[in-house]
């Protein structure tokens, strides 16, 4: 029995090797490392699916000037070591020209080698400022506004919508003690000062904090008009909002991209009504947006059982759109599709109109877009509360 299993395993290994050697037609290779298992799998599988579908859709639309796109992915289990291993494995075997990484950590760790050795265009699921710094990491971009810019967008909205007319709006920052949580805070403080929004409190917790009563009490003391969460996906947001409502606070709670999912609204239940936040993309429910209609039709055709796609799927899809966009720009200019050429196209993306899917996209002075839209939760769905906001 054991030898049979062994034999079939060896056979399997040989077959896969042969299959790898067989297909060698010219394609544009795009790779991804996403957490399809592990604690971030709930988003990872959608990020991966979004990119896969976006690229398959581009292929249906004629690929990159006739060249087919080939998508290669690996699971990382949300483990830095495995993410880097997957990246190196793909680079050694497949030589892709564009890659979609899983986390801020992976981008940071790979940055020196991408800049000096691999030289491929690198997008990721992270909105970290460091990965959008063109001077430092010219090959890396952020598929939307950085966390700092997302704070900027929210603060801009807050400055324009004070709760009491003629009085400056007050805000509290509520963030986790992680890189994800702290990344935008220094910028946010500056931005608030510039916009005349008063930061009345900053609450810091551990990532999956359960007991947040002291922070809620502090919020009660300062009674801010708005409170922005950063560095959380779900907990402790529901307990904070519930606690604040129990104390009779009428603070409007807000989140950035990762705290703007329908999953969170599900957990919030009735408390979720009126929850706001910034998202760089349109939601599945906005059927009046052309690209959303395209996405829904695509899913209807290829995944008929799917009846909802979260904002992480939209991030994957939008990253795919950027990849395709810059590759087509290369092709139009008659340049070979290589990492250095793709990188040079990025700053040339200006006023790219994505309809209401992601606003007008320009990678002007940094490799992030600086555009987003404020949404508000109504009956368990996010609906636009503002038009597209652009950071100058």
């Amino acid at each position: 029995m054991r030898s049979k299993i062994l034999q079939s395993l060896i056979l399997a290994a040989c077959l896969s090797l042969a299959a790898g050697l067989a297909g060698a037609a010219e394609t544009v290779k795009i790779s991804a490392q996403q957490p399809l298992t592990g604690r971030f799998a709930f988003a990872g599988k959608h990020l991966h699916q979004g990119l896969a579908d976006s690229l398959a859709y581009a292929n249906e639309q004629g690929g990159i000037g006739g060249l087919k796109i080939e998508y290669i992915y690996e699971d990382t289990g949300y483990d830095l070591k495995r993410a880097i291993a997957s990246f190196k494995k793909i680079m050694a075997k497949e030589h892709p020209v564009m890659n979609y990484g899983e986390s801020t950590g992976e981008g940071k760790a790979l940055a020196p080698e991408i800049n000096n050795k691999y030289k491929i265009l690198y997008g990721s699921t992270s909105f970290s400022q460091e990965l959008a710094d063109r001077e430092k990491n010219p090959y890396m971009f952020v598929s939307g506004p950085t966390y700092a810019q997302q704070f900027g967008l929210l603060l801009k909205y807050i400055a324009d919508h004070p709760k009491t007319k003629g009085k400056k709006a007050t805000v509290a920052f509520f963030y986790s003690d992680t890189e994800f949580g702290r990344d935008p805070i220094p910028y946010a403080r500056e931005m608030a000062k510039k916009l005349g929004v008063k930061v009345v409190a900053e609450e810091i917790t551990k990532v999956g904090a359960v007991d947040v009563s002291s922070q809620i009490l502090d919020l009660k003391r300062h009674n801010p008009d708005y409170c922005i969460f950063q560095g959380y996906v779900v907990p402790p947001i529901p307990s904070v909002i519930k606690g604040a409502r129990d104390f009779g606070l009428d603070t409007t709670f807000m989140g950035t991209f990762w705290a703007m999912s329908k999953m969170l609204l599900g957990k919030l239940g009735a408390d979720g009504e009126g929850y706001m936040g910034v998202c760089p993309y349109a939601y599945w429910g906005q059927t009046d947006v052309k690209m959303i209609k395209t996405i829904r039709d695509y899913n209807q055709k290829h995944h008929p059982k799917v009846d909802y796609r979260p904002n992480s799927y939209m991030q994957g899809w939008f990253t795919g759109m950027i990849f395709v966009k810059v590759a087509r720009m290369c092709k139009e200019r008659g340049l070979p599709i290589t990492g250095p050429n793709l990188k040079d196209m990025l700053p040339l993306v200006k006023e790219w109109d994505t309809g209401n899917f992601a606003g007008k996209i320009s990678f002007k002075d940094s490799n992030a877009t600086g555009v987003g839209r404020v949404y508000v939760a109504r009956k368990g769905e996010f609906v636009p509360a503002s038009d597209w906001i652009y950071l100058k």
Binding site: A41, K89, G105, K108, A111, E179
Partner: protein, 347 residues
């Protein structure tokens, strides 16, 4: 069957690799290790490098937990101390990497002694909790001592230079890892042939008896903490030299637990065990994924269920190994070896 294994001198009796066969296979291993980078690509070399780093750290924890019986939940923190020391010494003082390596070890050893100090009054689970506290405290320092550690953004380091050569590829770093692993394994192996090593084992087996035999428990426990953290610090320095960036998120509590799992799966108190455990814990998830990838072409729709299965299978493998061989992978290896040694006889 091996026969004629006579020892005619004290030197022969004391040899670690006592037979020509074992020396031959050791030679083969070294030759394979030397030839490996010339055939392997970047991916395999990367795996070899992180496995090597894991081996050095696991050897360290094996001395403290496996041999001396002091369970530590703070091993990742010591690796972190080594990594930060190495990065800071490189960035601020421009010290050469080969000097940073031992200094990172010494820094970790110093803090290891501090953390080990409560072992004077505590043992078992109580001591375990103090090491957990150390993990939390150091993690906090990595995040909040921003002037020194760069806070949550961590530090970036230039590629190390050794004898004027820039070590900026997996290939070149492999040689550093390989040499350090060989030194660490040799030192650990020989440690258990000294008074100190035997004292460690005596403490693990029965501390009161050890004390009656004249072993100063406190001092030897501190030695164990120091040596263990020293190796962890070296592993940390290797980590930062290899990755060239560190953030506090590289050294979480579950990393400490992973190292404990390594030495338990490998075989507690056994040098080979630490090595096998490190290889097992690093390579198996990768192997599982490769197997799954193969199935993907056959059942593309089933991947949503198959992928999460990796974690389950990995967990099950650990349980199965431990049920069938509580002494770990090293013991399984030992039985295989004995089979060949006695062949064609059974006993």
């Amino acid at each position: 069957m091996r026969i004629g294994d006579y020892k005619e001198s004290y030197a022969a009796d004391e040899a670690v690799f006592s037979t020509p066969t074992s020396r031959f296979w050791l030679g083969v291993l070294f030759a394979a290790m030397a030839a490996f980078p010339f055939f392997a690509g970047d991916y395999l070399l990367y795996m070899a490098n992180i496995t090597g780093i894991a081996i050095v750290a696991a050897l360290g924890l094996n001395i403290l937990t496996g041999a001396t019986g002091q369970i530590s939940l703070g091993h990742a923190a010591f690796i972190g101390i080594g990594a930060y020391t190495s990065a800071i010494l490189t960035n601020r003082f421009g010290l050469p990497y080969l000097l940073c390596l031992p200094l990172a070890g010494l820094a970790a050893a110093f803090f290891g002694i501090l953390v080990g100090a409560p072992s004077m009054r505590m043992k078992g689970l109580y001591l375990c909790i103090t090491t957990l506290a150390a993990q939390v405290i150091f993690e906090f320092l990595f995040v909040h001592w921003e002037t020194l550690t760069g806070g949550i953004r961590g530090l970036n380091v230039p590629a190390p230079e050794v004898f004027g050569l820039k070590i900026d590829s997996e290939f070149s770093f492999y040689w550093i890892t390989a040499v350090v692993v060989i030194i660490a394994a040799t030192v650990s192996r020989n440690l258990f042939r000294t008074r100190m090593g035997r004292a460690f084992i005596a403490i693990r087996d029965r501390d009161i008896s050890a004390e009656l035999m004249g072993i100063n428990l406190f001092r030897y426990k501190l030695y164990a903490f120091a040596i263990s953290s020293f190796l962890a610090g070296i592993a940390g320095s290797l980590w930062v030299g290899h990755l060239r960036s560190i953030t506090p998120e590289h050294f979480p509590l579950h990393e400490s637990i992973r190292y404990l799992a390594m030495i338990i799966v490998g075989g507690l108190g056994n040098i080979l065990g630490a090595i096998y455990g490190a290889i097992f814990m690093t390579m198996i998830p990768e192997l599982l994924q490769s197997v799954l990838k193969y199935f993907e072409s056959m059942f593309p729709q089933a991947m949503a269920f198959l992928f999460p299965l990796q974690t389950v299978v990995f967990g099950l493998l650990i349980v199965v190994f431990l049920v069938f061989e509580p002494h770990g992978l090293a013991e399984i290896w030992c039985r295989i070896k004995n089979f060949f040694r006695l062949w064609p006889f059974k006993h």
